[in-house]
């Protein structure tokens, strides 16, 4: 399953938010979309599952233009872990994860035994077996995040989109969430696209990085190619450098200082 973004433009009213973005997504990879706040990251992500429709250019899903597909068709292939996961209602964890099967079910009628199996497996995989009957509105942010990831897994997607997955989480939970997704991607060949402004997290987990700046792609490639001091200075206005953490065998980013003179 391939995803390809060609010359994507998006504007809110007169304001261009994305101004000709080209971005191929390789099957099975974890791709990070980096950029400062307001650069259009989330808008780009929302265009990848038809939550927004492009003002120009196109998004090709498996060679088919997404604008010709229904939302339901897209949801069968692309799942999302959104930025906020507050749930005010007393849906149980099981109810919530089972919603992941919605794109595959008719209006009426209950879940098939296949649906049940997939939902149970998703709950198992995310370590939520003991939480089945817990109410969503009594859970912490990190626990809800895991439930949403389980729901996305139950959607049996080929591509998983994550919008700022670490934003509202404690540090240890940030690692838990991304370790889970990383393992999943390696084990099942799931393609993952992560939008974030967290340089260190993206450097650590992503195979390739797209850096957005001024509504365009500023740099694209491996962490070494993209996270150069120059790029981080231009795009994020920080003095930072990439280094290879021998202990874990992955990249990280050291932030020295801001370049703003106050």
């Amino acid at each position: 399953m391939t995803l390809d973004v060609n010359g994507l433009r998006y504007r809110y009213g007169d304001k261009p938010v994305l101004d000709g973005v080209d971005m191929p997504v390789v099957e099975g990879e974890i791709l990070g979309i980096l950029g400062p706040n307001g650069c259009g990251k989330t808008t780009l992500l929302k265009n990848l599952n038809k939550n927004l429709s492009p003002s120009g250019g196109c998004v090709m899903l498996d060679g088919e233009d997404m604008s010709g597909m229904t939302k339901r068709d897209v949801a069968r292939k692309v799942a999302v872990v959104p930025q906020t996961n507050e749930v005010h209602f007393a849906f149980t964890v099981r109810d919530m994860v089972a919603m992941g099967r919605m794109p595959f079910q008719g209006m009426l009628g209950g879940p098939s035994s296949e649906d049940e199996r997939i939902v149970d497996e998703a709950i198992e995989r995310t370590g939520l077996s003991g939480y089945r009957d817990r109410m969503m509105n009594t859970m912490s942010g990190g626990e809800r995040q895991r439930v949403i990831i389980a729901r996305a897994i139950a959607q049996t997607p080929k591509i998983l989109l994550m919008d700022e997955p670490t934003l509202h989480l404690d540090i240890s939970m940030q690692f838990d969430a991304l370790n889970l997704v990383h393992r999943l991607s390696r084990e099942t060949g799931l393609t993952v696209v992560i939008v974030s402004h967290d340089l260190a997290m993206v450097a650590r987990y992503c195979d390739r990085i797209v850096m957005l700046h001024d509504h365009r792609v500023h740099a694209m490639g491996t962490p070494e190619e993209v996270l150069t001091p120059e790029n981080m200075r231009t795009v994020f206005n920080v003095d930072a450098e990439l280094f290879f953490d021998e202990r874990i065998g992955r990249h990280s980013v050291i932030l020295h200082d801001s370049l703003n003179r106050m």
């Binding site: 599952n49 038809k50 939550n51 229904t70 939302k71 339901r72 068709d73 897209v74 949801a75 069968r76 799942a79 999302v80 959104p82 906020t84 749930v87 005010h88 209602f89 007393a90 849906f91 149980t92 109810d95 919530m96 919603m99 992941g100 919605m102 794109p103 079910q105 209006m107 009426l108 009957d133 509105n137 959607q155």
Partner: protein, 340 residues
Amino acid sequence: MMPRRTVTFVTLSALVVFTVVCAFLDLSWVSAGTSYTFQEVWEALIGEGTWASNIIVRENNAPRVVAGLFVGAGLAVTGAAMQAVFRNPLASPYILGLSSGASLGAALGMLFTIPLVPAIVATPFLAFITCFATMVLVYSMSRVGGSVRTETLILSGVAVSSLLSALVSFLTFIAGDKLEGIVFWSMGNLGNASWGEIAFMAPIVTVCAVLLLTQAKPLNAMMIGDAHAMDLGVDVRRTRLFVLILSTVIVAAAVSFVGVIGFIGLVIPHMLRILLGPDNRHIMPLSMVAGGCFVLICDYMAHIIAPYFGILPIGVATALIGAPVFIYLLIRRRREVGWN
């Protein structure tokens, strides 16, 4: 803790039994202070009653009971759907001005005769038009930058509702000899319902309510958030529009035949959510049964106090019972039910 499915099943069974009892109570009413026994009601229903009981049970009481069941079921399921679609506990046909909208159309229909169109067709038709126009008006008034703000929605609903009520009052004021009809109608009156009107209203309410039930799953996703629903493949705009149109048709059909009956759409779904949790696949069908049941209880109450005040209009009875429940819910701010 019992699984929710079991709770739902138990509640449903209890409601059905209770509804049947209420229906019999309501059917048994003869006049202030006298009523038939259940056995006499049953005999009348199967056609073996006395001459008098046949007429009273089957021709006087039965249309009222059947109309009450359909109106209650329709209004309650509409309330449940609207609360889910707006993610707002206060959303109901009543608060959003739909009832007053339909009232205006119905009052116009009763007051002015349209050439060649019989009043039984014109009144519900006009009620539907004004009801729908009200929905469009309230909804577009509360759209700010593409999203509908809850507070604005309620405020526009209240504002538009007051304006429309004032217009209805004005029409009542100039109605002359038709005044009594409009006043009585605006308080809700199941007694007016004839089999002919039921044959018109019941299929409309049934079809729309069943179509609403098919939206239970997307509505669950929309209760969590529009973005979540879209991520799960729900066409949020289309679902919202579909639900609003169905709600409008149900409200228009109900209100144009039996008048304004408030608080059912508001109170019934809330009470069920406290019992059964938020899942619309359970809440919506049970709302229908509970709504019908609630109307029958209110109608029976309205009749048993007849020796003191005469038979109360049904809208007054539902408000007398429903409003305190609503106030209780507002004060309690049921966080555990989910509304923040």
